[in-house]
């Protein structure tokens, strides 16, 4: 089928249309052995077919009031085997942590244990309704409370808000908490409007501060890749609400002056938000409370290994200091003499009256809580400490093993990710992007590129603690080989990469210029054109 006006594979082969650009596949179908071309589900329609057996609806008198029944929707009809083949084939076009090393810096792609999947699917968790009577969900509330206990103890913080649905949602929650605390303390935030955010921060940090009604003021980095403490102090004043800092930071470094920063921030009457995306580098070895932090979100998928399914779901509980402990979203779990219960509204007798409302529907990402707790219990206090040690050891090993052929951006030690930049490619005609695409042909997912922005052409490599030495050595060998190849003048190898993937480099500019964001049937497109 060729409903999108694209070249067919036959065209591409030159068999029909003479498209000499590619004879890569050399097959009639365009398939390459196990790598199969797969049309959209909409292009496989057999009208009237369905993949589910549903009984005939009972005959009743409709109660739809004044609303008409809808006409045809345009969904395709397929049988179950066809649907299974379609999505199996699509899956085969994906790189995943199950396929190999996924060194995407700051994303923390570590092994996802299947025990956690099994437990999250127990009907006692997956098949309970959020509005069942509390007496019928005591185990679920106990699980949330147990996970909360671990998060509080590991961070040394007295309180935690469990409901945020992702890391960035946790940031939002933490900044709302800060704003609510300032309003409570000062009567309003009309004076404290500024939030200081380092240049190296995740893009969500300034977006979050803005979404909370704050203005953003950037703090520069110093020559060592850390926040410039003097510049920060100079910006502090009684109009500053908070600082948002990532620690370990996005350059892979620990902010050495963090205690001094916290003291200065508090002395100015502001609060200290820490982006906890990189908590897995220090879990069990450093408690954020001991650094003077007031609020920090924890990406459960990163530190505690809940699978990320192509970009979500996540879960981002926020730990809070004493000063912020009451300023939490609803709902939350409390434990009393009669067992566990939920505080769902400010009218509840257990409410402190300081909560700031809901952040999402229902109680939080329960499925993620089960997985995270299973991961935590599997490691225990001793194992989580080892998690941080091995994550840091692996990153420093990569740094040390590549330091002579690539250019580390800053002096070590690094934490759980190693930052290089493109100075080693100078004069080769190869960019960071080209290098990344060549890694794909070698069987690796590329590292994070061009982030953090504070260095030019960044390579941010995060091996994580679930990689073995053998796996790292193989990766190092490939990276060294590519670096040497680039320096030897073989730029063409990089510019043409990747060559072995289901698709070669894709035209992203064209995609943005004339966005095609959904499939449209051939007939409609023809009509639209006429």
């Amino acid at each position: 089928m060729n409903t999108q006006g694209r070249k067919t594979h036959v065209d591409a082969l030159g068999v029909e249309g003479g498209g000499a650009a590619s004879a890569a596949a050399g097959t009639i179908s365009g398939n390459r052995a196990l790598m199969l071309e797969e049309p959209l589900i909409f292009e496989q329609d057999s009208p009237g077919t369905t993949g589910v057996d549903l009984p005939k609806p009972p005959a009743v008198k409709s109660r739809l009031g004044a609303v008409r029944e809808r006409g045809r929707i345009g969904l395709p009809g397929l049988s179950e085997p066809e649907v299974i083949r379609h999505y199996t084939r699509l899956s085969q076009k994906n790189f995943a942590i199950d396929s190999g090393l996924y060194p995407l810096g700051s994303c923390t792609m570590k092994h996802n244990p299947r025990l956690n999947e099994k437990l999250a699917r127990l009907p006692g968790f997956s098949d309970i309704h959020p509005l069942q009577p509390e007496r019928t969900v005591q185990g679920a509330l106990e699980l949330i409370d147990t996970l909360a206990h671990w998060l509080k103890t590991l961070t040394g913080m007295p309180a935690v808000a469990m409901s945020p649905a992702a890391g960035a949602h946790g940031e939002l929650c933490g900044m709302m908490s800060i704003r609510a605390a300032i309003e409570d303390r000062d009567g309003s935030t009309s004076r404290r409007r500024r939030v200081l955010v380092p240049e190296s921060a995740h893009g969500t940090n300034p977006a979050t501060a803005a979404a909370c009604g704050f203005t953003v003021d950037a703090i520069p980095a110093d020559a060592t890749g850390r926040v410039d403490v003097e510049a920060l102090k100079a910006k502090l004043g009684d109009d500053v609400a908070a600082i948002m800092l990532t620690n370990p930071n996005t350059c892979g470094l620990f902010e050495r002056d963090i205690v001094e920063i916290a003291e200065a921030v508090h002395a100015a009457g502001a609060y200290f938000y820490c982006d906890g995306a990189n908590f897995n580098a220090i879990v069990g070895r450093v408690r954020p409370a001991d650094l003077g932090i007031d609020a920090m979100h924890i990406n459960l998928h990163k530190t505690f290994s809940t699978p990320h399914g192509g970009g979500g779901p996540g879960s981002g509980p926020v730990v809070l200091s004493d000063a912020l402990a009451k300023f939490v979203p609803l709902p939350y779990v409390v434990h009393g003499p009669d067992g566990f219960s939920l505080v769902e509204s400010g009218a509840d007798e257990d409410s402190s009256g300081k909560e700031f409302g809901r952040l999402k529907g229902f109680h939080g990402q329960m499925g993620m809580f089960v997985r995270a707790l299973a991961y935590i219990l599997s490691h225990g206090a001793d194992g989580l400490r080892q998690v941080a040690s091995d994550a840091v050891l692996n990153a420093n090993y990569v740094m040390a093993s590549l330091g002579d052929v690539m250019t580390p951006s800053f002096e070590g030690p690094c934490m759980h990710e190693a930052l290089f930049d493109d100075r080693f490619l100078k004069g080769t005609g190869v960019t960071t992007l080209d290098f990344a695409k060549a890694m794909i042909d070698e069987g690796y997912h590329p590292m994070t590129m061009y982030f953090p922005l504070v260095v030019h052409g960044a390579f941010l490599i995060e091996p994580t603690e679930t990689e073995s030495k053998q796996s790292l050595d193989a990766f190092i060998r490939v990276m060294r080989g590519l670096a040497e190849r680039a320096k030897s003048g073989d730029a063409d190898h990089f510019l043409g990469a990747p060559r072995m993937t289901p698709r070669r480099r894709l035209d992203e500019t064209g995609a943005a210029r004339k966005p095609v964001l959904r499939w449209v049937p051939e007939v409609e497109r023809r009509e639209a054109a006429e």
Binding site: G65, P76, L131, A166, V259, V370, S378, R518
Partner: protein, 449 residues
């Protein structure tokens, strides 16, 4: 610690390569006062697979699974049958353990299913375009209001009294901190509100749920016209997405943005999450839309492929000027939605919706015949409100003791509102049998006597 592959010998040799005596010395940038010398106290040591399973399964066993008893709970989360193929496919490691598709050449699988998801959502809502999902229905609703504020450059949102209270709360929380006004109409159990009367020239949008929180389904065409006449947008929220298999879609009624909770298709109840927020709009508003988008393009050989696109709206480029701070979606839940929807197809989706409606009609007739029970909703899809002669929360607790999850007392979501204390929301889906309905009818009779 079976997930950590390094041996002691590996660690020694790696430390030698790095040139440091111990792992501790790699933590030398941490202020000495904050360095912990030993595992944190008050936490258990690591446990084996068997022990962890026992501990967590023990907690699961203390809950009453909705599928193990007659269950009629709804109010924004619905128990539907999910075909076995769905969970099997989403557990394929290539889907399950993949990240955001930043490298399109090796993530065409994820990108293609997101493109299919966007198309399915646009089709069922009757809109032009959809994004690749947000956190859940309630957060989609709040994002839609903020988008309407951007589009209209106004900052006053009118929320229907038939909008799910959580959607209202989440929107109000964002309003408080983001700095816009929310006018929430009083709870509208009878379906009598006049929303158009609340719209003024500062109003950016009207948000209305269909079917409403109390069950009513309505034709929104006139409301859309009235809202548009005043320069505002109509946002339609759909808390039960299965209804779109039967009802005129919001797009055909004039909606500008449609948000929905997609949990019903492909996803389990999960005690409230993770769920999947759907978000669809008109072509002309695409660049104002929050969240991730997959677009079609071609590769270097001219072959069709997919990439993430229009990211110039997003936080990693626009920072404090971004359309939203969201940087993730509900990818795996969206995949489950897409697979289930593909299995249903045109035929199955319509049939599923019809069965849901028919079951609810049967149940409503059954309950209406009981003494002390009155069906309040004059129209509905698969959920309706009944007025009981006793406080609904008490009745529900009695039913739970008898092994029946008999619905959601409205007071759970509107605590303190005495006028609503007797209202019970009852939902029926394809999973409910005649025996379930018998159990609820006789349980209610007992509880009300």
């Amino acid at each position: 610690m079976r997930y950590l592959p390094l041996t002691e010998a590996d660690r020694r040799s790696m430390l030698a390569t790095i040139g440091v005596p111990s792992v501790d010395s790699l933590f030398r940038d941490v202020p000495e006062s904050a360095r912990l010398a030993a595992p944190i106290e008050g936490l258990a040591p690591h446990a084996g697979e068997m022990e962890v399973e026992r501990m967590i399964a023990g907690m699961a066993a203390k809950n009453v699974a909705a599928g193990s008893v007659p269950s009629f709970l709804g109010a924004g989360a619905y128990r539907h049958h999910v075909p076995a193929a769905v969970d099997h496919l989403i557990q394929r490691g290539e889907f399950l353990t993949s990240y955001t598709p930043y490298q399109p050449e090796v993530t065409q699988g994820t990108l293609q299913y997101l493109f299919e998801f966007q198309t399915q959502v646009a089709l069922i809502t009757g809109m032009d375009v959809a994004n690749a999902s947000l956190y859940d229905g309630a957060t989609s609703c709040a994002e839609a209001v903020m988008m309407a504020n951007r589009v209209t450059r106004r900052s006053r949102a009118v929320l229907s009294g038939g909008l799910h209270p959580h959607y209202r709360d989440v929107t109000a929380t964002n309003a408080r901190f983001h700095g816009f006004e929310v006018v929430a109409a009083p709870a509208d159990a009878e379906g009598k509100e006049d929303l158009a009367a609340l719209v003024d020239d500062k109003t950016s949008c009207v948000v209305v749920q269909n079917p409403g929180f109390f069950g009513q389904v309505r034709d929104l065409t006139d409301l859309a016209a009235a809202v548009h006449a005043k320069g505002a947008l109509l946002i339609v929220a759909v808390a039960e997405v299965v209804s779109l298999g039967l009802l005129t879609p919001p797009g055909e009624m004039g909606a500008d943005i449609v948000v929905a909770e997609g949990q019903s298709i492909g996803n389990a109840l999960n005690f409230g999450g993770p769920y999947v927020g759907l978000f669809a709009t008109r072509d002309k508003y695409v660049r104002h839309m929050p969240g991730r988008l997959t677009g079609q393009t071609v590769d270097a050989e001219g072959r069709r492929g997919w990439v993430l696109t229009l990211s110039t709206r997003e936080q990693h480029i626009r920072r404090e000027k971004a359309t939203s701070n969201i940087c993730t979606n509900s990818g795996l839940c969206a995949l489950a939605f897409t697979i289930h929807m593909s299995l249903l197809g045109e035929e199955g989706f319509g049939r599923l919706a019809r069965i849901n409606h028919a079951k609810a009609v049967q149940l409503a007739d059954r309950l209406d015949a009981l003494k002390g029970v009155e069906v309040v909703s004059d129209s509905f899809f698969n959920e309706f409100a009944v007025r009981l002669k006793k406080p609904a929360a008490k009745v529900v607790n009695k039913l739970a003791k008898a092994g029946i999850l008999g619905g959601v007392p409205v007071s759970r979501l509107y605590p303190g509102d005495e006028a609503l204390a007797d209202l019970l929301l009852v939902a029926a889906t394809e999973t409910n049998t005649d025996a379930d309905m018998d159990a609820l009818a006789s349980g209610l009779k007992e509880a009300l006597s």
